[in-house]
């Protein structure tokens, strides 16, 4: 069974997704079913990480025993669909499954009053399948298919509250953006297929050259994935989608955004590894996009009145840190001295920030969901004095806010510290922007804290009580993870982050999976 792990981790949530609509009559069973399936995938993804650490890259071929088996006609290129799982793929898989589990748990009571929940959970599981497929696959077309699955499931979930016009508006915006991005990805894949007659990532990455066609394909892939991961100035869909989606889906949607970020890294580091050697400016483009993303995201967040919209702008701004960290690493990728000195640390910071950000931003969006649950509004102007009524939510919010602002000893500090201490070596201005962003982040969360939780207790919230237990449990799990990751950052770094970083840096390992030339 263990050798079929890569197939199982896709098959089980897919099976779950198609079974979930059968629970139309008893919708709470659908919720339990989704929680069960996602819990199984968490275990599978942890096993997958263990296997990757033990045996190195796992290559799983669908429809054959070995990746090296060729066509009977003697056509010697890999033609089968294969999954190729290395450190960063397993890392993203852990993030995705963990967040799906927490999201399903939170949804259990958060959306209980809505109708059509069996479809909600089916879509949640499909979204998880899409993300997992994107991060595990070793085949470009497969990447496109899973990107579309995640995009369709995600936008259907954004528009889930179809009694609200705004939800449909956000849904169609997200869908149009993701449809255009994925079509351009497919166009770029077509260009690469036309040139090299293959779709295998590892195979193409050996052949890619500096020709104009290749660079056009690279540019299309880069821009499309940058839009899908919400980098400024193509971030407009992020606040719309994150605001309107039910809070239980927020963690999963966040991971699906970062699956696109993963694809961006995969394309720049692995697929175009030959090209990036002579193109330092790819790294610079990424770093500059990162700084822009950080700064514009946070300044927009500062003026928001809608609590979830404010947090969505922070999600954009935190994506900037990841782009900056990994971009710094990409800039010095082929300067081995600089890479060892600060490039690897910067990349570790960027990738560590992915999982940290997923954890604390999900926590914060869930507390925002809890505020919405009890007050029925997302407008910060109408809230106040809720700290006494909802002590656990308040505590969770404080942990999340401290983590996102980079206050020690929470996890946000650990990854931001790595990014500050390494990016200034490339250019001090980068680190300055990163720190200013952090301060503005703290400022805007002080605003949320002061206006929603502090202040005199308002009469209209006299009867407000703490949110139901499943929501509390989901939030407390994430808050504990925030603290644990902050107190033992070196353990997390050594166990899952540095393997991921080395997987990105070490292209030769990714390319050498079979006997094919």
């Amino acid at each position: 069974m263990i050798e079929h792990l890569p197939a199982l981790i896709i098959a089980i949530p897919l099976f779950g997704a198609f079974i979930a609509p059968l629970f139309k009559k008893k919708q709470s069973i659908a919720a339990v079913w989704a929680i069960l399936i996602t819990a199984i995938t968490v275990i599978l993804s942890l096993m997958l990480m263990y296997q990757v650490r033990l045996h190195g890259i796992i290559v799983y071929v669908f429809g054959a025993d070995k990746p090296t088996i060729v066509l009977p006609s003697g056509y010697k290129v890999p033609i089968r669909i294969m999954f190729e799982i290395d450190g960063i793929g397993a890392f993203m898989a852990i993030s995705a499954t963990l967040m799906s589990f927490v999201g399903a748990l939170y949804s259990y009571s958060h959306v209980k009053a809505e109708s059509g929940l069996e479809k909600y959970y089916a879509l949640l599981l499909l979204l998880e399948v899409g993300i997992l497929g994107m991060v595990l696959t070793g085949d470009l077309f497969n990447l496109f298919v899973f990107l579309e699955i995640a995009g369709i499931a995600g936008s259907a979930l954004v528009g889930f509250r179809n009694y609200r016009g705004e939800a449909s508006e956000a849904g169609i915006k997200y869908l149009i953006v993701s449809a255009v991005a994925s079509l351009m990805v497919l166009f770029a894949i077509g260009i690469l297929y036309g040139e090299y007659g293959n779709l295998n990532l590892a195979y193409i990455s050996r052949q890619v050259s500096l020709s104009t066609l290749d660079m056009i394909a690279f540019g299309l892939l880069f821009a499309s994935f940058a839009m899908k991961c919400g980098s400024v100035p193509m971030h407009y869909w992020v606040p719309d989608a994150y605001t309107e989606v039910p809070a239980g889906i927020n963690p999963v949607l966040l991971v699906s955004t970062y699956a696109s970020l993963y694809a961006l890294f995969r394309v720049s580091f692995t697929l175009f590894a030959n090209v990036s050697i002579s193109l330092e400016r790819v790294g610079w483009i990424m770093s500059v996009l990162g700084v822009l993303t950080m700064f514009i995201g946070v300044t927009m967040a500062l003026v928001q009145k809608d609590v979830k919209r404010l947090m969505s702008y922070h999600a954009i701004s935190q994506t900037g840190y990841m782009l900056l960290g990994v971009g710094v690493g990409l800039t010095v990728l082929h300067n081995s001295d600089a890479l060892a000195e600060f490039g690897r640390t910067a990349m570790a910071g960027g990738i560590f920030h992915i999982i940290n950000h997923i954890i604390y931003k999900s926590l914060l969006l869930m507390t925002a969901g809890a505020l919405f649950y009890v007050t029925g509004t997302r407008n910060l102007n109408e809230m106040g004095g809720l700290a006494r009524k909802m002590p656990i939510t308040t505590l969770c919010f404080i942990v999340g806010a401290a983590a996102i602002s980079g206050l020690p000893p929470f996890n946000g500090f650990a990854s931001k510290f790595l990014i500050y201490e390494s990016s200034y070596r490339l250019n001090p201005l980068l680190a300055v922007f990163a720190m200013v962003t952090s301060i503005l982040t703290l400022a805007s969360f002080v605003k949320v804290f002061a206006s929603a939780f502090l202040g005199p207790p308002l009469e209209k919230f006299e009867n407000v009580r703490e949110v139901p237990r499943p929501m509390i449990v989901a939030m407390v799990i994430l808050a504990l993870l925030c603290i644990l990751f902050g107190l033992f950052p070196d353990v997390v770094l050594n166990k899952i982050v540095y393997p991921a970083v080395d997987a990105l840096i070490n292209v030769a390992q990714y390319q050498s999976w079979g006997g094919l030339a």
Partner: protein, 113 residues
């Protein structure tokens, strides 16, 4: 072994930091507990106006979210005017920005090849 976060320019040890945080919290508490406990809960001290004026309703005296950082936003008015103008919320602009940025990236990549 104490866990350490090595950054290449030095290191940071969260557990040590936490130990010092607890230590200083204790010192702070000692100083605080030696203070004069003049605050009495069940007396007139808790009223907002000792003069006996009527207390305004809570909704009126609450500091609202949009009042916070008023000065900051006022000072950066021009910057925010530009930003608000960019964020139109029009789905066509989303795609046009993508086209623009894509063109720039393509130009940077192809132009130097």
């Amino acid at each position: 072994m104490i866990s350490k976060l090595v950054t290449g320019s030095g290191y940071w040890s969260p557990l040590l930091w936490l130990a010092f945080l607890i230590l200083f919290t204790l010192i702070g508490y000692v100083i605080y507990s030696r203070g004069n406990p003049s605050y009495k809960k069940e007396s007139e001290q808790v009223k907002p106006y000792l003069s006996g004026n009527a207390e305004p309703s809570k909704e009126k005296i609450q500091v609202r979210a949009s009042d916070i950082y008023w000065g900051f936003i006022e000072a950066l008015k021009e910057y925010y005017k530009v930003l608000q103008a960019i964020h139109t919320g029009d789905v066509r602009d989303y795609i046009l920005w993508y086209l623009g940025v894509g063109t720039v990236i393509l130009f940077l990549l192809v132009g130097g090849a």
